[in-house]
C-alpha cells in the first residue's frame, strides 16, 4: 500500500500541491488528471523523492519513503522524468540498465534480468530496434523505449508522467496491455499523470482530479462526465460509452 498524507509543496509563492491525502492499493492503476500546472507531475516527483522539500508524509508498504536506502527506493519506486543523456547507447544496453538496482556489483545480469528485458522488448515491439542507437529513433519509438525501461524495473510503485506522449494508436494499445499485465498479480501499483482523459478513463481503476494543487475529486471512471470536464477543464464535451468495456469515451467539440 502507498499512502500520501497531507502532502504540500510550495514553489516560491505558489502552492504546487496542497493538503493531498490519498491511499493507493496493490493491484490498482490510478490516474491523476487536471489542467496543466495543477500539480500532477509535482505529486509524482514527491512520491519518488525527486522533490524533497515537501511537507506531509509518503508511506510505501507502511514505511516512510525517507527511510528507504537509495537502492531500495529505486526497487520500490520507478519514475523517469528525464530523457537519458547518452543517446549513443543501443536500445538493448539501455534497457538492461533498468535492472541495475537488482544487479550485484561485479556480477553479470541474471537470467531473470535478461528474461524481463526480453519480455518487455516483445511487449513494446522493440525487437527490430534492439541494436539501434537511441539517438536514431523517432519520438514515438523513444517513448516506447522509456516506457519499456520503466516496466523492466518491476518496482512496487510505477509512476508514469503523461505516458501516451508521442505514442501512436498501436503503441497506446501496447501500453494499455503492459499496464494491465503489470498490476495483474495484485502486488504492484501504477500511478500515472495524464492529459489524455480517454486514456485515463479506459486504463485506470480510479481517477484523481487536481485543481491548483488540491485534490478536488476522486472516484472510478464514472466521474468523467460532461459537467466534471466542463468544471475542471473548461471544455464542453460529449461522452459516450465504449461498446467494448462500457467505460467513458470523451468527444471534444472543436468549436467549444
Amino acid at each position: 500500500m502507498v499512502e500520501f498524507r497531507d502532502l504540500s509543496c510550495v514553489f516560491g509563492a505558489r502552492k504546487a500541491v496542497s493538503g493531498i491525502g490519498v491511499t493507493l492499493n496493490p493491484g490498482e492503476t490510478v490516474a491523476v488528471i487536471g489542467r496543466g500546472g495543477s500539480g500532477k507531475t509535482v505529486l509524482l516527483n514527491i512520491a519518488s523523492l525527486a522533490i524533497r522539500n515537501f511537507s506531509g508524509d509518503v508511506f510505501i508498504r507502511h514505511r516512510p519513503v525517507q527511510s528507504y536506502s537509495a537502492r531500495d527506493l529505486r526497487r520500490a519506486v520507478t519514475f523517469l522524468s528525464e530523457a537519458p543523456r547518452n543517446m549513443e547507447e543501443t536500445v538493448m544496453n539501455f534497457l538492461l540498465l533498468a535492472r541495475m538496482p537488482y544487479k550485484k556489483i561485479l556480477n553479470p545480469f541474471t537470467e531473470y534480468d535478461l528474461q524481463v528485458v526480453e519480455e518487455n522488448i516483445a511487449a513494446f515491439s522493440l525487437d527490430p530496434f534492439r541494436d539501434e542507437q537511441l539517438g536514431t529513433l523517432s519520438a514515438s519509438l523513444l517513448q516506447r523505449v522509456y516506457l519499456a525501461f520503466s516496466f523492466i524495473r518491476e518496482s512496487y510503485l510505477l509512476l508514469l508522467d503523461n505516458p501516451t506522449k508521442d505514442l501512436d494508436l498501436d503503441s497506446v494499445i501496447m501500453l494499455q496491455k503492459a499496464m494491465a499485465r503489470y498490476v495483474f498479480d495484485g502486488n504492484k501499483i501504477i500511478f500515472f499523470a495524464s492529459n489524455d482523459l480517454n486514456f485515463a478513463a479506459q486504463t485506470s481503476d480510479r481517477i484523481l482530479v487536481l485543481e491548483e494543487g488540491r485534490l478536488v475529486l476522486s472516484g472510478s471512471y464514472d466521474i468523467i462526465e460532461p459537467d466534471t470536464v466542463k468544471k475542471y477543464f473548461g471544455v464542453d464535451v460529449f461522452i459516450s460509452k465504449n461498446i467494448y468495456n462500457g467505460k467513458p469515451n470523451v468527444h471534444y467539440f472543436p468549436e467549444s
Binding site: R85, E89, M100
Partner: protein
C-alpha cells in the same frame, strides 16, 4: 595489424637510435589511451579524444609553465600535467554539465589558447626543443627509475580490468544523475572518481607520448565491439601510429611531424568521429 605493429618496432630498433625503453613507454601510453577511450563511455554523446577534448592542451600548457618558471624535473612535470588535466576536467564538467558539444567547443578553444600561450613563452625565452620534448612526451626518457614500467603496467592493467568489470555501471553513469542514482549509486562521488581516473590516464598518455597518441581518435572509427581481442587491436593501432610518428621524427623535422599528428588527429575526428545524435 600485429605484423604492421611488429614491423614498426623492428624498424625503429634496427634503423633508428630510438631506445627500446622509449618504445616501451609508447606501448604503455597506447594502453592508457585505450583506458581513456573506455572511460569515455562515462561521457554522453559524441565521443571525443584527449586532444579534441582539450585535456592534452591543458596538460601540455601546465608542463610548459612549470618548465619555464620552476624546473625541468620529470616527476614535477608529470605532476603538473596531472594537476592541470584534473583542474581542467573539473572545470569543464562543471561548465558543460556533460554536454559533449560544449566540451568539444571548449576543447577547440583551449587548444587555440594553448598554442597562443606556447608561442608567447617561446618568444619570451622558452627553448623550442623544450616545447617539442613536452609535445612528444616529457617523461619519455631513459632517465627514470626502473620501477616506473612495472608500476605503469600494473596501473593500466588495473584500470582496464576495472572498466571491464564496471562496464554497465559506467553506461548507467553516462545517462546522467537521475539514472545513476536510480541504480542506488552515489553520483557525485563516482563522478569525482571517474574524473580522477580519466585525468591520471590522460596525464600518463601526455607524459609518455605527448600528442602522438592523438591518433587514438582512430579508435572512434573502429567498429564498437566488446572483447579483449578488439581492445588489443585498438592498442596495436595506436601503438603503430605512435611508432610511425616517432620514426618520422628521427628523419624529418620534429616540430612538423608533431604538427602533422595533431592535424591528422583533428581530421580523423572531424570525418570519422561524429555520430547522428538526436537531442
Amino acid at each position: 595489424m600485429v605484423l604492421v605493429c611488429a614491423g614498426t618496432v623492428v624498424f625503429s630498433m634496427m634503423y633508428t637510435d630510438i631506445p627500446p625503453l622509449r618504445t616501451c613507454y609508447y606501448f604503455i601510453a597506447s594502453i592508457f589511451s585505450l583506458v581513456l577511450v573506455k572511460l569515455a563511455r562515462a561521457d554522453s554523446g559524441v565521443r571525443i579524444d584527449y586532444v579534441q577534448s582539450g585535456e592534452a592542451w591543458a596538460g601540455i600548457l601546465g608542463a610548459l609553465i612549470i618548465f619555464f618558471l620552476v624546473s625541468d624535473n620529470r616527476y614535477l612535470l608529470f605532476l603538473s600535467v596531472w594537476v592541470s588535466v584534473l583542474m581542467y576536467e573539473l572545470y569543464i564538467h562543471q561548465l558543460s554539465r556533460g554536454r559533449s558539444s560544449d566540451r568539444l567547443m571548449v576543447g577547440y578553444a583551449f587548444g587555440a589558447m594553448a598554442v597562443v600561450a606556447g608561442v608567447y613563452l617561446v618568444l619570451n625565452g622558452l627553448r623550442l626543443d623544450a616545447v617539442t620534448a613536452i609535445l612528444s612526451g616529457i617523461c619519455c626518457t631513459e632517465h627514470h627509475a626502473g620501477w616506473i614500467i612495472p608500476v605503469m603496467v600494473l596501473l593500466c592493467t588495473l584500470l582496464y580490468a576495472m572498466e571491464r568489470f564496471f562496464v554497465y555501471e559506467l553506461l548507467l553513469f553516462s545517462q546522467g544523475e537521475q539514472y545513476f542514482s536510480s541504480g542506488g549509486y552515489p553520483y557525485g562521488k563516482v563522478k569525482f572518481l571517474v574524473l580522477c581516473l580519466r585525468s591520471v590516464s590522460a596525464a600518463v598518455v601526455i607524459s609518455f607520448a605527448g600528442v602522438l597518441a592523438g591518433v587514438s581518435a582512430i579508435s572512434i572509427m573502429l567498429p564498437e565491439r566488446e572483447g579483449v581481442l578488439q581492445d588489443g587491436m585498438t592498442v596495436l593501432v595506436v601503438f603503430s601510429f605512435i611508432n610511425i610518428a616517432a620514426l618520422m621524427m628521427t628523419y624529418l623535422n620534429t616540430f612538423s611531424v608533431l604538427a602533422a599528428v595533431v592535424v591528422v588527429s583533428y581530421l580523423l575526428h572531424l570525418f570519422g568521429g561524429r555520430r547522428v545524435v538526436n537531442g
